[in-house]
Symmetry: C2
Subunit: 369 residues, 2 copies
């Protein structure tokens, strides 16, 4: 009995649109085609997709939906396939549920599925809008809800089956990639009952073992979505349940490298050395200049090397980072101060509405990760 565990495809991602726009769909398609071949060849019994198959929660790209439908069709043609919705996933995917597809199960709310020898306990990403409705302390309220769902799941585990928890969550202590968001619930490892034989997680893009009691993995995204992920482990996982303890192995998928190169000065020999390194890279390169910013050098590099997608200078980068931090937390703080001062009576509900808008904006644009 072998299960494939994959997640975080982010179909429809357009990277580095402000410097050199790259449509990442072909790269992800190639990785997923390899995954489909693997599932075909290896006679897999179950495919688990732990969320974030799409990148744009609002108005997903039509080509992304086409690819998603094709891959889901191919996978479910080989093995029962469960698609769990993540925070990036467009809510319209519920439509697939209504089609009552033979071997494809779309999960948009906590539920238990019995498929062959498996009992799958599926908990999708808790909708943030719902979490915000929880009241005074949404994060701790949301934590309570998650804890209760998982406790109820645990009670339903049965020794005659392999019990798998499938979820799209951030686990406390996970090392997030550079740009993953902060304003979310970090759930405790202790919530995962040892009644589960395996816990299949999505959300973190770095393939990583979370805990061994029960055996809990993030399978990782198939490709490197941004430079914060260039050293991540990527691919998918196969979980073998033939012995007492599940045996977890990496499935290698093709992907392009992301590579950050530093530029110490503008001497010709340094530029030559960088050019040589770039030539060895089949993927995308970010140049970080450790010297004074120069738009001429930026232009020279972008024009002469097609796989350079970004040229940053440390001095500039700092100011950009400050802006990013400001957006992520301080905007909320500033707005909160403002309405608390001016509209005391409705402050709480206005703040709630503003948070929703802020999230809508974050999800509807195509950020770089």
């Amino acid at each position: 009995m072998r299960v494939v565990h994959t997640s975080d495809w982010h179909l429809g991602l357009e990277s580095w649109s402000q410097t050199r726009s790259i449509n990442r769909l072909p790269e992800t398609q190639k990785a997923l085609n390899t995954l489909v071949e693997y599932v075909k060849k290896e006679n897999i019994d179950l495919v688990l997709i732990a969320g974030d198959v799409l990148h744009n929660r609002v108005s997903p790209r039509i080509e992304a939906l086409d690819t998603l439908a094709r891959i889901l069709q191919q996978l479910s043609n080989e093995a029962p396939t469960i698609l769990l919705l993540g925070n990036h996933d467009w809510r319209g995917l519920k439509m697939l549920r209504e089609l009552n597809l033979n071997n494809l199960f779309v999960v948009n709310k906590a539920e238990i599925l019995e498929i062959g020898d498996f009992k799958v306990f599926a908990m999708p990403h808790l909708d943030t809008q719902r979490a915000l409705d929880f009241g005074a302390d949404p994060v701790s309220e949301a934590e309570k809800v998650v804890k209760e769902i998982l406790a109820n799941f645990s009670k339903e585990a049965t020794s005659s089956k392999k019990n798998i928890l499938l979820s799209h969550v951030m686990v406390e202590g996970s090392i997030e990639s550079e740009r993953e968001r902060n304003l979310q619930l970090h759930i405790k490892k202790s919530f995962f009952s040892s009644n589960f034989d395996y816990v299949a997680l999505g959300h973190i893009h770095n393939q990583s073992l979370v805990t061994t009691q029960p055996v809990t993995w993030y399978c990782g995204s198939p490709i490197c979505l941004d430079f914060g992920e260039e050293h991540d482990k990527k691919g998918a996982l196969v979980v073998d349940f033939s012995s007492e303890e599940p045996k977890v192995t990496q499935i290698e998928l093709p992907r392009k490298a992301l590579m950050t190169l530093t530029l110490e000065n503008y001497r010709e020999s340094t530029l030559d050395a960088v050019a040589k390194k770039i030539a060895t890279c089949d993927g995308y390169v970010r140049i970080v200049g450790k010297t004074r910013p120069s738009n001429e050098i930026r232009k020279y590099l972008m024009n002469n090397f097609e796989n350079i997608v970004k040229v940053e200078f440390e001095h500039e980068t700092e100011s950009v980072d400050t802006k990013a931090t400001l957006f992520q937390s301080d905007v909320l703080k500033l707005y909160s101060d403002y309405i608390n001062h001016n509209y005391t009576e409705n402050a709480e509900s206005m703040l709630r509405i503003f948070k929703r808008f802020l999230e809508e904006v974050e999800f509807s644009e195509t950020p770089e990760t």
Copy 2:
């Protein structure tokens, strides 16, 4: 051998949002549930859906997609079902094609399907963007393309099967409802070859016989979408191929009435008479005042009668109509004059881009029809 012919569901339509906003989904769902029951009970051999199942070509509502998927699942569970895309249909529906569904065929480009004893020649709405690319005289160029497709179809007709042409087009001479658009190709009846046993059309919301040589019908929309359609025939059609000539019969579907009442003056007795008529209407009422505009009367009527969705005064209506006409043609004319004067060199390509935007805008908003 019996075929059901339906079209123009416009799922997701929100009517009269500027006066009293009504979500039309429940009404359409009820009609379509009845259609599903009919197909179940009557042992139908084929279901043809001639386009415009959705109302919003851009960002369709999630509940509309859910309903669409459910109805398609239920229909295709009973009989092979062909969904042809119309001008309102969101292009993401191509996704359903990729799922390789058993009994559901989604058509987004001209193609021929052989299903049981039927040969179906399917020509979806010619994408207007493509038509605009045809060059100097897009409408006559588009007409040429349509003529050629239909001529090629006709050659492939085979006497051993029932040959059905399925299309979403405006036929010359069709009486359009009040608000249906004007800027489109009107194709000639003579394009329909007598090699076809039946021609199943969508686009016009009024159920109507177009020609008897070959037998050609618009099946009509299931519900009245706006007041311009209050006297239309609505429902679906069943086509019986057991005799030499196809026999076409109406399928009645439940729907709400739309009713325009005129108000000659503001005397109490007149208002009482109108109130009595409103009480007999299970649907939605538009009041047209034949007297001086009065916001007080408008408020009185809207506040006291829940099924009044619009109060218009003839004098006001005129000015609104002028604006509508201006938008539909004069905006283009004005812009054309402007760019011809200021940007002679790129005028043509700019005008083409502007036309696309204009269409995008028309399709992305939720107009009243």
